[in-house]
């Protein structure tokens, strides 16, 4: 065996023993009894299909909103002066590192029936009755966009930083308008960052647990929440395993597509 692999061995042993083998074993559980019944149940019954559909819909919307909010932010951070960029970084990295639990709790405080936002709107006379923001689709969406936004901002920031500032300047010198420069120069040159951010946010959304569990209040069920219920409450291992297998398959498919598409850029 090659000597340069030697230092990696202890880590690889850990990864195989506590990651790879248990996950493969779980996939084996889903086929217990040699039938595909649990997969039929997961993908055939309306109730569970609905959960998959919910998960997809939320993941797509979260990705879209993260892109809409993340691009301007990443762009500004990458093109402003160093001092402002540092401040921008604090605004992105501080939430990123703050516990998801803390942030989710804070959104409960903000979005609840008697929460900060409803109180302010009622006090200001904008509305008479509190509007439902929590334990519904909107609440889960807001919470998840907040948690995942940094994962969109950082790759986009990186991509914008890589663009030679002389290129958009040249475009401007050649008579392009501000929107023209954006559509014809910035967007194509930062497509890789956009793509990386989108896939990252989408993949993370698919398996998200804490935020939907707390902000969904049992009414918006995503697949990770369903798996947890099946293991901890229903004790239905084979079904949980089948759901996990489907979730894993989706995740890996999306991830593999990313690897394929972003390879040309890597080769540079």
């Amino acid at each position: 065996m090659n000597r340069s692999l030697l230092p990696a061995l202890p880590a690889l042993v850990l990864l195989v023993a506590v990651f790879l083998l248990p996950v493969l074993r779980l996939l084996g559980v889903s086929l217990e009894g040699g039938t595909l019944d649990w997969y039929a149940k997961a993908l055939g019954e309306g109730l569970y299909l609905r959960v998959f559909w919910n998960t997809f819909e939320i993941a797509l919307l979260v990705t879209l909103f993260c892109l809409l909010l993340g691009y301007p932010l990443g762009f500004l951070m990458a093109t402003t002066t160093s001092g402002w960029a540092t401040l921008g970084f604090i605004f992105v990295v501080l939430p990123l590192w703050t516990s998801v639990l803390v942030r989710t709790y804070a959104w409960m405080v903000l979005l609840g029936r008697n929460g900060v936002i409803n109180r302010m709107l009622v006090d200001a006379g904008v509305i008479t009755d509190p509007i439902p923001l929590l334990h519904n689709f909107a609440g889960v969406l807001i919470g998840m966009v907040h948690v995942l936004l940094p994962y969109m901002v950082l790759p986009i920031y990186g991509a914008v930083r890589k663009v030679d500032p002389a290129i958009p300047a040249a475009a401007a010198g050649l008579g392009a308008s501000a929107p023209g420069i954006f559509w014809r120069v910035w967007l194509p040159l930062t497509l890789n960052g956009i793509f990386a951010g989108c896939v990252l946010v989408f993949v993370l959304s698919l398996g998200f647990f804490i935020t939907p569990a707390l902000l969904g209040g049992g009414r918006v069920i995503m697949i990770a929440v369903l798996i947890e219920q099946q293991v901890r409450e229903a004790l239905n291992w084979p079904f949980a395993a089948a759901l996990s297998a489907v979730l894993l398959a989706f995740t890996l498919v999306v991830y593999t597509i990313m690897q394929r598409v972003s390879r040309p850029e890597r080769a540079q």
Partner: protein
């Protein structure tokens, strides 16, 4: 250069987005100082009662202490295993390097819920549920990819001629590693270690399955949020945010700039 109208619009939009990002972090501060016995905004008066309740409750203190040493052990183990792994991946030439690379980063891609359920089954058989070292092992699996990413980035930017210089001046491999390579990687090591610590300190999903009766801080918080929202949780949140701020300052001061690692 005078800002154009499009630039001003961009700055205004970004100010709003930054507000959205910071709002949840800011809102817990007034709540944690509320004198009301339940969640109320704006607070009717100020008091330290929720901080006192946290400090007086052995369950909170125990779970905090447990999370700290589990985080510390995780950071240690993740560095001990992840740094050599990163060296192999960046410097090594062996068959199956791409495969090892994928495996090393897979715990980030595979949803934590799947890992949790999978390991739950294994640990139940091995009677490891509720042990602190069991959690450390799984948290290490989750933290190691971050260590590998940070260290590998540091190694790729490493000026190889410095190691050649050391060798040329008479340093053996081990001396070069100890006297030149590791000291120069120290910023990356600091960042990686703190990142590993925080990733364990904040981890909920695995703890939910594996911690058993031995609460970690995130699990205690989760249970509290599920049962009753009293402002104690806001006080804990404030302390967490302050802790993260301190860690970020430490990284800024002694670590590899986070901005550098985004490329």
């Amino acid at each position: 250069m005078r800002p154009t109208w499009s630039r001003r619009l961009l700055v205004a939009v970004c100010a709003l987005i930054d507000f959205f990002l910071m709002l949840p972090l800011l809102v817990v501060f007034p709540i944690s100082l509320s004198s009301a016995p339940y969640m109320q905004f704006p607070p009717p008066g100020l008091s330290w009662q929720w901080y006192e309740r946290y400090l007086d409750d052995p369950q909170w203190i125990d779970s905090t202490g447990r999370s700290v040493y589990i985080g510390g052990a995780t950071a240690f183990l993740a560095l001990a295993l992840g740094v050599p792994l990163a060296f192999s991946l960046v410097r090594g030439r062996f068959i199956g390097r791409v495969l090892v690379d994928r495996l090393a980063l897979a715990p980030i891609i595979v949803p934590t819920i799947i890992l949790s359920v999978a390991v739950y089954g294994l640990f139940a058989k091995l009677k490891l549920i509720g042990t602190w070292y069991g959690l450390v092992v799984v948290h290490t699996v989750l933290a190691m990819p971050f260590v590998v990413l940070v260290i590998a980035a540091g190694l790729r930017d490493f000026d190889h001629s410095l190691e050649q210089a050391a060798e040329g001046l008479g340093a053996g491999r081990w001396q070069t590693l100890r006297r030149v390579t590791l000291p120069l990687l120290r910023p990356s090591l600091v960042s990686a270690g703190l990142l590993a610590f925080i990733s364990s300190f904040d981890e909920l999903v695995v703890a939910l399955f594996l911690a058993g009766a031995n609460m970690t801080l995130p699990k205690k918080m989760f249970d509290n949020i599920m049962m009753e929202i009293d402002p104690t949780i806001a006080a804990v949140s404030v302390m967490q945010i302050l802790l993260v701020s301190v860690v970020l300052v430490l990284i800024g001061r002694f670590g590899r700039g986070l901005r550098d690692s985004v490329r």
